[in-house]
């Protein structure tokens, strides 16, 4: 009787799976094995799904499937390669002439032209559209007119963008920025079809793009079904029939569903499962570097932390942290001890250098104690590391870092964690310059350039310079590097600037974060790109 019950359930599950697969095949193919559909875990995007409005990974997954921009970052090497760009030319690193390749269309048949880009960028930059990523267009001339810091915008389009032909347009920047074309792989720079502007709510309900997938159906908050677009003109066609993104309430339940065989791909293995993941999945678990670095930032607006001996003090704290042990025991090697202020995904050519931090990042309790004493001791006799406790497992590592510091200094009260309930509150206290000691800082790159790991974080008054660190020499070197037309020399100059960050220990690098994913035996060729997004179009279904 019980056996019969169980059989009934199985039949039920199989029937459901079959109907799903049948739906998946779509009109073009009958849902055979080769054009199978991958089911993948998803979370509800925090913002409306517009290219210039998506700044988190869940929305990023969709954009990566339905859009292709002028450039695309190689999923393996992170190198920016031409996608829709036929050529991007400049003689002075300020004026750029862009030619769009012929033959590209949106999935509704509309050709991708120069205007598709210019209109999209103007939309993204305009203040009245409330786009979270508007600052990406900040280097383009005329940005201040469409997006003033205060008051009403004076223009609706940026003066630096001019359409010069059906497939050509020019861009004028406000400053020299030789590697600017390499930023164009970011989703915010995607082209947009007319339908986006003419029927905006219709577009949001079922986005139309020019990528290898098209949106088949979208039930907000629960599921998005993407299907391979047979008319896709690009070289990176989808190797599967489509992808079903399913919203899970919790990454634990997604993981459970994967182990039960109901889901093909989980791109965020919960911390609690890291111990079992090898046993559960074997080699179907991947753990690869992503462009994310975690650091401890300091409040330089607080006089106690902005002292002449401060650099020694901060270096001392850095050397009191046993990074190896913490990444091993707490993160189960899903993070790698940091050796510089960038990320391994840049590669040596891109500016990553695992010797740059050197001694300053090595654990040495005796030296740490000495340096801290030389630097004037901990302000107020102890330090509090501030973090938000609602996301990630920040409490665990902050406690471990504090333990490490306390042990190194032989003082149980030297360091303690200071938890803030929500991420939003944490951020708002940081923006109001209310930090009284070091605080958790994480940086996920926007584009794989060394510039992106340094300028937004340490340049005077930069957008993410939360500690308000300021150093003239650093600023000068960054300006020089941006003006450098030879990429190799630019990288070199950025590394010089990075050495200033090291000597001053502007922020303590902790570890590089990896992306992790697990998948079912049904699929193969699963990889994560440097943004820790699964490379969906290369997944094969057996």
């Amino acid at each position: 009787m019980r056996g019969a019950m169980r059989a009934g359930w199985t039949v039920c599950a199989v029937a459901v799976a079959l109907t799903a697969a049948a739906c998946g095949g779509g009109g073009s193919s009958g849902g055979s094995g080769a054009s199978g559909v991958v089911s993948a875990s998803w979370g509800d995007p925090a913002n409306p799904l517009e290219p210039a409005n998506t700044n988190e990974v869940q929305g990023g997954k969709v954009l990566d499937m339905i859009f292709r921009g002028l450039k695309r970052y190689d999923p393996k090497t992170a190198e920016a390669k031409d996608m829709l760009a036929e050529k991007i030319e400049t003689s002075d690193s300020v004026d750029f002439a862009v030619t769009v390749k012929d033959g590209w269309t949106f999935s509704n048949g509309e050709p991708v032209t120069a205007a598709s880009f210019v209109d999209a960028w103007n939309y993204g930059a305009a203040l009245r559209n409330n786009q979270r990523n508007a600052y990406f267009f900040g280097y383009i001339e005329g940005y201040a007119d469409v997006h003033p810091d205060t008051g009403e915008p004076k223009a609706t389009t940026m003066s630096g963008l001019k359409v010069t032909g059906a497939r050509t347009f020019t861009v004028r920047l406000t400053q020299k920025f030789s590697t600017w074309p390499e930023t164009l792989g970011y989703a915010a720079f995607a082209p947009l079809p007319r339908a986006f502007f003419d029927d905006h709510s219709g577009w949001l309900a079922k986005p139309i793009g020019n990528g290898p997938y098209l949106v088949d159906s979208y039930a907000r908050g629960s599921q998005m079904s993407l299907r391979a677009w047979s008319g896709y003109p690009g070289p990176d066609k989808a190797r599967n029939g489509g992808v079903d993104l399913r919203v899970y309430t919790d990454n634990n339940s997604a993981y459970t569903d994967l182990t039960a065989g109901n889901l093909d791909l989980v791109d965020d293995v919960p911390a609690a499962q890291l111990r079992n993941v090898r046993a559960d999945l074997g080699d179907r678990y991947i753990n690869t570097p992503a462009g994310i670095i975690q650091t401890l930032a300091f409040p330089y607006y607080d006089t106690a932390w902005n002292t002449p001996g401060g650099a020694r003090l901060r270096t001392g704290i850095s050397r009191a942290i046993n990074r190896e042990q913490i990444t091993d025991t707490i993160f189960q090697r899903t993070r790698t001890p940091a050796k510089d202020w960038t990320s391994p995904v840049l590669g040596a050519e891109g500016g990553f250098d695992d010797t740059l931090c050197g001694d300053a990042c090595d654990y040495d309790p005796a030296e740490a104690k000495k340096l801290i004493a030389e630097g004037g001791g901990l302000p107020g006799g102890g330090l509090k590391i501030t973090y938000n406790s609602d996301t990630g497992s920040h409490k665990d590592w902050v406690d471990a870092v504090c333990n490490s510091i306390n042990n190194a200094l032989g003082d149980d009260r030297a360091c303690a964690g200071n938890s803030i309930g929500t991420f939003a509150d944490f951020r708002s206290q940081i923006t109001q310059s209310k930090m009284s000691g070091p605080f958790r800082a994480g940086w996920q790159m926007d584009y794989p350039l060394i510039q992106n790991f340094l300028q937004p974080l340490y340049y005077t008054n930069a957008s993410s310079n939360d500690g308000k660190w300021s150093n003239q020499e650093f600023d000068k070197l960054v300006d020089q590097a941006n003006a450098e037309s030879d990429p190799a020399k630019a990288v070199d100059t950025f590394q010089q600037a990075e050495r200033v960050v090291r000597d001053q220990m502007a922020a303590i690098p902790l570890w590089y974060q990896n992306g992790s994913a697990g998948y079912s035996p049904r699929i193969s060729d699963v990889a994560l790109n440097p943004f820790s997004l699964p490379v969906y179009n290369e997944i094969k279904v057996s």
Partner: protein, 307 residues
């Protein structure tokens, strides 16, 4: 009876306003939600100001509350941060949670009361002792343990159920989550019914009914049970609200896209509109359920009259 209902309905008005005001203030105290929208970086000030204006966050709290309440009465519950109207979120979440609650209540009534009657009539016998012990275990084990355990055993190890409920959440997929959600209340219902039955079994009217020569099942269902159910009905009535709002843990474990999940997401993203909207509806559900319970008393016990 009519006047009683009207009086109770009028009493709901201040409770409703008080509750919504409290929630509104609490969500506001959590800080500036806009800062959380831009990820690990500072929102550019111009966009942040625009967003604040759009969501009405630049006005003083009392004004925000008044505008919000004004909108609520025209059926507009505002917009969540992802641009989705809160009413749309409600339309997708409430049917799911109501289904889950119904499944849970069904288990409470059927299993809870049956066990209660059996143990109440067999006090001190082995069946009584074992059920008591069982309920004690259920009460003392937290819901998330029962939930995760059943999910692992039934879903992953034995493959009897799907460990994650699909977005449409049909009734058959909600059986196990409903059982988990009901488990603790179920144990309480069993214990309440048992005590009440045991007490009333010795009362005069039961003796009279027996003396009249009525068949045993009639004595139990018509006389004994009807009078013994009053505390149980009170409990189940208040439990409806608790089950609907308190399903956060169960809904997260079993991937149910219901009220608990939306509330959780609203709190994490500090979306005032979502949280206040959902809790307002939950407050209403709670109030109505309580009123229904009070009216049910009169049906169950003819001695109770409302004037």
């Amino acid at each position: 009876m009519g006047r009683y209902v009207i009086r109770r309905l009028l009493q709901m008005i201040p409770v409703f306003f008080g509750a919504t005001l409290l929630i509104f203030l609490m969500v506001n105290v959590m800080g500036d939600p806009i800062q959380g929208l831009c990820g690990q970086r500072q929102c550019d000030p111009a966009t942040a100001a625009r967003l604040r204006q759009e969501f009405g966050l630049d006005k003083p709290v009392w004004q925000q509350y008044l505008t919000y309440m004004g909108n609520v009465f025209t059926g507009d519950f505002g917009t969540a941060f992802n641009g989705q109207p809160v009413t749309e979120l409600m339309a997708s979440a409430f049917p799911v949670t109501i289904r889950l609650t119904l499944v849970a209540i069904f288990f409470e009534i059927v299993i809870g009361i049956t066990f209660g009657v059996i143990t109440g009539l067999r006090r001190g016998r082995p069946v009584d002792t074992s059920v008591l012990l069982l309920t004690l275990i259920v009460i003392s084990v937290p819901t998330f343990v029962t939930g995760l355990l059943l999910q692992l055993l039934l879903g992953v190890e034995w493959g009897v159920i799907k460990p994650a409920v699909s977005p449409e959440a049909p009734l058959d997929e909600l059986i196990v989550p409903g059982l988990v959600l009901a488990s603790v209340s179920l144990a309480y219902v069993t214990r309440l019914t048992r005590t009440s039955i045991a007490e009333n079994a010795r009362s005069d009217y039961v003796r009279t009914a027996k003396a009249k020569g009525l068949p045993c099942h009639r004595v139990i269902t018509r006389h004994l049970l009807r009078n013994s159910l009053i505390p149980v009905v009170t409990f189940i009535g208040t439990d409806i609200g608790a089950l609907m709002g308190g399903a956060i843990v169960t809904e997260r474990i079993f991937n149910i896209h219901g009220v608990g999940y939306q509330l959780y997401q609203g709190i994490v993203r500090q979306s005032t509109q979502t949280v206040v909207g959902f809790v307002t509806v939950l407050v209403l559900v709670f109030l109505v359920a309580n009123l229904l319970v009070d009216l049910l008393y009169a049906v169950l016990d003819p001695r109770i009259r409302y004037a």
